[in-house]
Symmetry: C2
Subunit: 353 residues, 2 copies
């Protein structure tokens, strides 16, 4: 049984869409704790005949708004639902948390309460995109800016495990996002990262470009969160624009409208393939448990999909695998440098899985 703590107050359609999504996703293998205003949650649950056996309600009296600073759960709202979710994971009462709320607040709550895995300096948000060959995971898409080579190397290891264990790539091809594919192109940062990635034992395929996110030529694309966030947000927005333009063009003539009517199931199938609701939420990799962040506009279907992703992630015991592999990286590094690694800023404890 996998237990998921769900932030009932997070997202534009909370708590209704979140509670509805939880009811959809709960099952034989998944139990859910809905965290937030008990009165609001129970009102929504009543529509489905009450919570049922596998849904519990955990009351908190604060919620972080979408536009509040990321540090709100730490500084101003210690009783916020988003922070309580992270604390439930930290206390071993849940394997993973899911929030469609404030991304920055979720990242900070998870880092502070759940904590980074031993050896991981910077947990990273990993977005999964559809591609010609299946799916490509891009990280970081926004948890970090000004990443250093050692951080990007850790992202590569985390992305490798995500692609292998969750996306099913036997030997994931790991690319480094740069400007131009030739070796030696890019910034000082990418040149340095490219040289360290060769020593990791990963299937490192060298520099890739923005086109490789969707072309299917890489399974993992590693980048700093500033550029990854720009790629994620622009891709979501472009997919929406194309959908909107398709509707516009198909409404222009009777002939096109008839075509649209006939092709509707195909167009809907297409939308499912490019829709963030189907692609699931974005995991924060590198923390001692699961943390999935769903889109702020998540519908109940998107929330259900995020909960299922979090359960699948927890069942795969990814954090333990990442921890062991990052530890091996650091051993390699110490051997190479002949020195001990400096202490990390975050305390290391045992992983709750």
């Amino acid at each position: 049984m996998i237990r998921i703590a769900v932030d009932a107050m997070g997202g534009d359609h909370a708590p209704a869409a979140v509670v509805h999504g939880a009811v959809e996703a709960v099952g034989d293998n998944v139990a859910i704790k809905l965290v937030g205003s008990a009165a609001s949650i129970e009102r929504e649950l009543a529509r489905f005949g009450g919570p049922g056996e596998r849904i519990q309600v955990e009351h908190t009296d604060e919620a972080v708004g979408m536009d509040e600073p990321a540090t709100t759960p730490i500084r101003r709202k210690p009783n916020s639902s988003i922070r309580r979710c992270a604390e439930l994971v930290a206390a071993g009462e849940a394997e993973a948390m899911v929030s469609a709320g404030n991304t920055g607040a979720a990242v900070i709550s998870a880092r502070m309460a759940i904590g980074a895995l031993e050896g991981v300096d910077r947990p990273a948000l990993a977005a999964v995109f559809p591609s010609r060959s299946g799916r490509t995971v891009v990280l970081d898409v926004g948890a970090n800016i000004d990443s250093k080579p050692s951080h990007l190397r850790q992202f590569a290891v985390m992305g490798h495990f995500y692609a292998r264990e969750i996306l099913g790539s036997a030997e994931p091809r790991v690319g480094l996002l740069s400007i131009g594919e030739e070796e030696g192109k890019g910034t000082e940062l990418t040149r340095e990262v490219a040289s360290v990635l060769k020593t990791t034992g990963l299937n490192f395929i060298g520099n890739v470009e923005g086109r490789d996110v969707f072309s299917g030529s890489a399974d993992v694309v590693v980048c700093d969160g500033f550029v990854g966030n720009a790629v994620l947000k622009s891709a979501e927005s472009l997919a929406e624009l194309i959908t909107e333009m398709t509707r516009e063009e198909l409404a222009r003539s009777w002939r096109a409208r008839l075509g649209l009517a006939l092709a509707r199931p195909a167009i809907e199938a297409l939308q499912r393939r490019t829709d963030y609701e189907e692609l699931g939420a974005v995991p924060l990799l590198g923390v001692r448990g699961g943390c999935f962040i769903a889109h702020g506009r998540s519908s109940s279907r998107a929330v259900a999909s995020a909960i299922r992703s979090a359960a699948e992630f927890s069942a795969a015991r990814l954090p333990a695998k990442i921890r062991d592999s990052v530890a091996e990286l650091h051993r390699q590094e110490r051997r190479l440098l002949g020195v001990d690694r400096p202490a990390r800023d975050l305390p290391a404890e045992e992983i709750p899985v």
Copy 2:
């Protein structure tokens, strides 16, 4: 009469597609000089009954390949067609150049032979994207990496003029690409740029995110070439993937195939709205003349569209407007700092394309 120097040897389908495109684009107001192997160009021209009045051929015996280093026209191939195009602009024999060849080689040729406008430290590639409100220009998309605040400020001015004079925005909204829209979010670079952009007199709307490239909330999006390139390349690739998925889904059932047949004109109209061939080539802003770089895969239609864009750009006298406005920026800066600006100095080796 606007005279355009066209690199007949540049692009995957050169010289056939380039010559064909030139024949399509030439007209009462546009004369063309086709630069490259005279024998090959004349063979292609023969298919259209010879060059006609307004097409001339300029022979060169070298061509830069797509995978050759950007410095090739400077170091190894001084007689390359791409460099000769830039020299024709520098000599006043053409108002603008067009190449579908090696982007880095075109940028370096233009910078070295045509030269940067007075006061412009770094010319920038400006890509135009379709958006909800019309079109959005993003710069830089790959001519520069590790841009400094003063460079991004110049990009903002250049983007402003492009949006106003070419895209027809009366008072272009200029946004700074960052991670999070709130003031104070982003990197040290974006925070510094945001504060200097407030002093330019432009219609600066603050930080924008990747989504704003397509959402229509900004007319100009300013960023370093590393991130702009990732956004450009990933967007092109995503648009292609969606087109391909649409075809796949619409071929799955007789019903969808019939729908596709009826909707075909609408789908073709849609493709024209998202297709780089229709959106034209990418101008290098900030040089003393026009330099348009078309996609390497350009068809004759794309080349013709690039030539028309270059002619329109030259007719609008954009370089002179940018020069005057950048000069005004520098006067402001000198007044603010109470000092003279240091001389520029950027040897070719430092151009990071």
